[in-house]
Point group: C2
Chain length 330, copies 2
Amino acid sequence: MKAIVHEGKNGLAGLAYKEMTTAKPKANEVRVQLKAAGMNHRDLFVLERHSSSEPPLIIGSDGAGIIEAVGDDVKDLQIGDEVIINPGLGWDENTPAPPDHFEILGLPDHGTFAEYITIAAKNVFKKPKHLQFIEAGVLPLAALTAYRALFTRGNIQANQTLLLPGIGGGVATFILQFAKAIGATVYVTSRSAEKRQAALSLGADRAIDSNADWSQALNNEKVDLVIESVGAATFDQSLAQLRKGGTIVAFGSSTGDTIQLNLRDFFYEQYNFLGSTMGSAEEFQEMLDFIDTHQIKPIIDEVYPLSEFHDAFLKLQNAKQFGKIAFQID
Amino acid sequence: MKAIVHEGKNGLAGLAYKEMTTAKPKANEVRVQLKAAGMNHRDLFVLERHSSSEPPLIIGSDGAGIIEAVGDDVKDLQIGDEVIINPGLGWDENTPAPPDHFEILGLPDHGTFAEYITIAAKNVFKKPKHLQFIEAGVLPLAALTAYRALFTRGNIQANQTLLLPGIGGGVATFILQFAKAIGATVYVTSRSAEKRQAALSLGADRAIDSNADWSQALNNEKVDLVIESVGAATFDQSLAQLRKGGTIVAFGSSTGDTIQLNLRDFFYEQYNFLGSTMGSAEEFQEMLDFIDTHQIKPIIDEVYPLSEFHDAFLKLQNAKQFGKIAFQID
């Protein structure tokens, strides 16, 4: 089969679209013929983390397709089932944090940027019926991360207001869709006028230019919840918009990791600051149910064939997308 | 009546033990003959915050005594009742943060370092029967702060482990007693060998020299909960001891307010960082019930008459105490 493989040099220079062998499913495993896959920022990190001294690695965390082989002891799944893959390996039940042996599909295990994947049956879920394969293929990692950050951690309620700095990436776009689906008020920020417009079209109640004075843009209205993934560049501004007793959830830090906090302000305001990343298999099922209930469809920025991986990676690297970048796999 | 009054110069130099008038209780107020009062760090802050251009102020937040006059419309309280005072003004029900008009007794309202206080009846609670006046008098602010930080915010469970940096102050000492009362494991730190020994006598499972390597002292065991009040000097070390998905509650920052955080570590570890200060009237009643159920008695470091306020303030300023500093009022 053909796959996008990382070997040798770090970064994009180490990627190739080449022939790899497929594995026969063992007990409690299935083999899925992939119809679509989705890109995540993690795919870029993996190109740096996967060592040139290790065997070639099929990258990719997100995928959807059709079961075409079933190992022994597999229940509830059969050949021909249309499925979506949970990329979280080893985090089954809702717990405050993943177990020590938790991994994400695509490093160290072979991932989804391939014609086939052989994977534990418990990571394979029925595809929501209202989604095309290309839509299901971009869902897993980002929608799971969004679900946990917004609901499990942020505990957002319909009558609350959410501030979402840096709209555009896959997770933030899902958070906007999920929050609007339950009727919350959502304010977003972006440096890009196009992304602000796209967010308003998706239902954002206000879209603020990142370079503007946020307090002024919000008429000094404080928010109940902030979900932060921009990091050092916006964290101070984000915290300044939070009401007393409000919550800030962080799941990313794309502009830098180091922030300063004033402890006295923090405890007088009785803030809650919660870290979040990925989610459990239980949350993956809850997320699929939520998507189904609200008939949510992912926003797809652009679709590439696997063979044009180089262009797709450049687009991801330049953060020009609004929503998800997909691979169609024939 | 006699009272400790701040006027004129900032700091200790502006304090005097002098004659003040008492107020007659209006509707929904009572007058309490104070038998004991307790000192808090807040009393030192008040000496800086109370402006020399304002009228003389009776300071003090903690007190206990006997009702000796009752205003109109007061229910459930009568002359002769032995009572303890909740110093939180305007925060009645449990909410994520106090209302905007929340104040603490002793600034701007006259406080408890006096022979009498006239105060809203809803701030006056029946004294737990197992406590002497001197014990009840030191309880309110610190035990309320401890209760909210440990239970409402920290949500400690019997099978969990708590790290408590900087044992010795009133709040930390109550936290140690409360956590041991429910059967939790408690590790404390202090620079003072005497305070470490005192903490062990109070039930601490381990007492670590603040200057030691904490990880090593704990054999690399991570904890479920940290309650921080030391601030800049210990925050990094405190966070480093926390297990994945663990919680750090901050209610103070005695060594400095500014801390740095690594966002990536924070969200990968799925930490919870919660600010806490004081508590509601509902929590005050819960705290009294808890004290009663577990027959907890405050640790009193030293007792002074009101007239020796100067020595008492110096002791508090030098942070030499273990537990609470009290005023006996005759």
